[in-house]
């Protein structure tokens, strides 16, 4: 199985450790993981702002970089959601639709494709609050949603539940958006920061030592808010916990 690793732009720039943990974690399962060197971004900043035409060339580049792989895996639900559901500026050739269909968010990939049942190397003796990115949650359905009357499930919790010593804590409004919202975080910074601060306060009240998520963008925003408020909780990407990081 040949896997192409997609490291989203902000992970590349600000959280290289998340890319590293994802790569190493996938390799632990004996996968042949490539990092195509010419990759950049999924086009989300443009699409998110309504500028689909401006996103087209970036989407083309993505397809070109990744079409040869059996699976494309990224440690980011919002980027995968972009590829899978919003890659519409492109002509929908067979190549394009194939790339879209085989692009997976890391948690989905571990849970649904690899069906991982143990992370024997992983131990995380901390109180952890889980944050699901809205695109991962409501776009990719990585967990059941509080608004719907469906059976309860959570793929990230299933995976984290296999980590020794990890203790979940609940926050008051688990499904509430943290306000990152892509370009929203810049163009509507007032509301965005306020939402992030409210989220960070909710997490602090829950007694969490760490907040984890399968999305670095939310974490980056939340961490910035928590630091501004001088709250003590730390932020760590799910790939790092699953890869055996202790703190």
């Amino acid at each position: 199985m040949r896997v192409g690793l997609f490291v989203p732009c902000y992970v590349d720039a600000f959280h290289p450790e998340v890319g590293q943990a994802t790569l190493e974690l996938l390799e632990r399962f004996g996968l042949d993981v490539d990092y195509p060197f010419d990759q950049t971004c999924c086009g989300q900043p443009m699409t998110n702002t309504g500028c689909h035409e401006e996103s087209r060339a970036t989407e083309e580049l993505f397809v070109k970089n990744f079409s040869e792989y059996d699976y494309i895996v990224a440690p980011s639900g919002s980027c995968v959601n972009q590829v899978r559901r919003n890659f519409t500026a492109l002509e929908q050739t067979e190549e394009v639709t194939a790339v879209r269909a085989k692009t997976f968010e890391l948690v989905e990939f571990l849970h649904d494709i690899l069906k991982v049942d143990a992370f024997p190397w992983a131990e995380f003796p901390h109180k952890v609050a889980l944050h699901n990115n809205c695109n991962a949650l409501r776009g990719l359905s990585i967990a059941s949603m509080s608004e719907l009357r469906n059976e309860r499930f959570s793929k990230p919790k299933d995976l984290l539940g296999k980590v020794r010593g990890l203790e979940f804590v609940d926050i008051a409004r688990p499904d509430e958006c943290c306000g990152f919202g892509g370009t929203f975080s810049v163009f509507e910074e007032g509301i965005s920061s306020r939402m992030g601060q409210d989220k960070a306060r909710d997490q602090a009240r829950s007694g969490a030592d760490y907040v984890t998520s399968s999305d670095s963008s939310c974490l980056m925003h939340q961490e910035g808010c928590a630091r501004r408020l001088q709250l003590g909780q730390k932020y760590i990407h799910i790939s790092q916990i699953l890869n055996g990081s202790r703190a």
């Binding site: 890319g19 971004c41 060339a57």
Partner: protein, 523 residues
């Protein structure tokens, strides 16, 4: 507007004390201002300019008591809604059914409108067709004038807000009295409703006390809810009892019976319809449902979604004029037929105005409904306001994180967040987004489609360069740090790390023990 005598002392400071004396002597910190926090108002609407939603939202967020109260009240409604949902096993099927019924009706609207008109006429109702707001307003005022009617009592109706009916009527000597408490508060304050179900939800009790003191002459220092409600009742009752005509909106219009159904908690639709011999119904043409039996589906969903209560206190059916009286129904298009023709957006006509999307919306809860500067605020507003005026409301589809919670709570399954994204595309293509945004996106698109330019745009491991790369920040004015800290800039990017560790072809070091690099212990 109101017949009540304004006699409250205007603008008196709560303590009557000069500012500097409100601080305790020697106190090292500034005391919070005494007295109630002033209510933040909506945006100033400038002709020809898009609504400044985010500016108004910032003002709302700068009023901590209002913000906290508003967020919590609406979040409570959302939680109550969830509890009701869990009580109904077939909830998701109900939503699907409601959506299907609406889709069917909207795709056969001509048929059902004719059936409805036929049956309403047979019931002795006079039916009027209004192609826009102006026609609606003049039809209603003409009905009143021709019967010498001067005072109109009405229950809550978003359609009349949409038509600007109250102002129009006032200019023509028709006095309108709102009978819904929240709507009455808004009327007395000369302010638009901020929410389709709870029109004054953005007001603290102290705000209401101030409005009533100013307009009804109540005690400005008494913000007790019972006192305020009682005072309103006492002052409004006589006006209601001496009215000449009554108006209601319409939640559902049943084609097979020609009847209209209005759901209220205060019973004021019955009051408005039955106090006088003249009942006028304002309804949008999308309110139709085919059969009476379909109503059960919507009644089960409406109040549960809106307020988290199983049903509204009153579900009033109006089928024909009462003995010796008259009943009129004004069927209003006002852009609905055009909307029906919009491939991406026509399903927004399924909306039953329950307000659930507003209650769940984290942006709405923090910015207040007035900030949208439109009749319809919140998620549903974002997707229908631009159909009324694309330029004026071009900013609204950007007042969202597109998190999708609205879509999930919507009882008629409108794909609200996808339509928000759809509107962004339409606005961008039609040059209705600011040029600076468009230019940034062009630049971002050029950078992100070129591996070379992209690499060059990233921050270097130089601590002096502590700014986000251009593709994230898009402009030199760094808005990120107003409410948050910057992320730490790592020593190297992932790309650099990979190249160093694995080599460009990825062969170097591949398959080596990963735990050595992360400090994890592989066992």
């Amino acid at each position: 507007m109101s017949a009540a005598t304004p006699q409250a002392p205007a603008g008196k400071s709560p303590e009557g004390a000069p500012e500097h004396l409100t601080h305790a002597a020697g106190a090292s910190v500034t005391m919070p201002p005494r007295g109630p926090e002033e209510q933040p108002r909506g945006p100033v609407i400038r002709p020809g300019r898009p609504v400044d939603q985010s500016g108004a939202a910032k003002r709302f967020m700068a009023a901590p008591q209002h913000l906290a109260m508003h967020d919590q009240r609406l979040w409570d409604l959302r939680q109550k809604r969830d509890r009701q949902m869990h009580g109904i096993e077939e909830w998701e099927e109900l939503r699907q059914l409601a959506s299907d019924i609406k889709m069917h009706t909207l795709t056969h609207l001509d048929h059902y409108l004719e059936e409805f008109e036929r049956n309403a006429l047979a019931n002795g109702v006079k039916v009027h067709w209004a192609k826009d707001a102006g026609e609606h307003n003049s039809i209603v005022v003409d009905i009143m004038r021709s019967r010498g009617a001067k005072r109109l009592i009405k229950s809550k109706s978003m359609l009349t807000e949409e038509c600007g009916f109250r102002e129009y009527a006032a200019e023509r000597g028709v006095e309108v009295i709102e009978t819904d408490l929240g709507e009455r508060i808004q009327q007395l304050d000369d302010e638009a409703p901020s929410h389709v179900v709870v029109p004054s939800v953005h007001k603290l009790r102290t705000d209401v006390a101030a409005v009533f003191a100013r307009t009804l002459g109540t005690d400005p220092d008494n913000a007790d809810a019972n006192y305020l409600a009682e005072q309103q009742r006492e002052t409004t009752r006589p006006l209601i009892l001496s009215a000449d005509a009554g108006m209601t909106g319409c939640n559902f219009a049943v084609a097979e019976t020609g009847s209209v159904v209005v759901c209220t908690n205060e019973g004021n639709a019955d009051l408005s319809a039955n106090t006088t011999g003249l009942h006028i119904v304002s309804m949008g043409i999308e309110k139709l449902i085919p059969k009476l039996e379909n109503l059960a589906v919507f009644v089960r969903l409406l109040s549960r979604s809106a307020l988290g209560s199983p049903i509204t206190q009153y579900t009033s059916h109006f089928r024909g004029p009462r003995k010796g009286g008259e009943m009129h129904i004004v069927l209003v298009d006002n852009g609905r037929t055009d909307r029906l023709g919009m491939e991406q957006f026509w399903t927004s006509l399924k909306c039953i105005r329950c307000g659930a999307c507003m209650n769940t919306c984290p942006v709405f809860r923090r910015s207040g409904g007035l900030s949208y500067g439109a009749t319809y605020a919140g998620p549903i507003g974002l997707i229908i306001d631009p159909t009324f005026n694309r330029h004026k409301y071009s900013t609204l589809p950007f007042a969202s994180t597109m998190n999708g919670s609205c879509t999930n709570v919507c009882p008629v399954k409108i794909n609200i967040h996808e339509q928000i994204a759809g509107w962004r595309k339409v606005l961008s293509e039609n040059h209705e987004i600011p040029a600076f945004k468009k230019n940034m996106m062009k630049a971002a698109g050029a950078i992100l489609s070129s591996p070379r330019l992209y690499r060059a745009s990233l921050p270097l491991a130089d601590s002096a360069l502590r700014h986000l790369p251009r593709f994230i920040i898009y402009n030199r004015m760094n808005t990120w740090t107003r409410g948050r800290e910057m992320p730490h800039t790592p020593r190297e990017t992932f790309h650099q790390w990979y190249k160093r560790e694995r080599g460009k072809d990825g062969k170097k070091g591949k398959g080596s023990n990963p735990s050595a690099k992360t400090g994890g212990d592989a066992s």
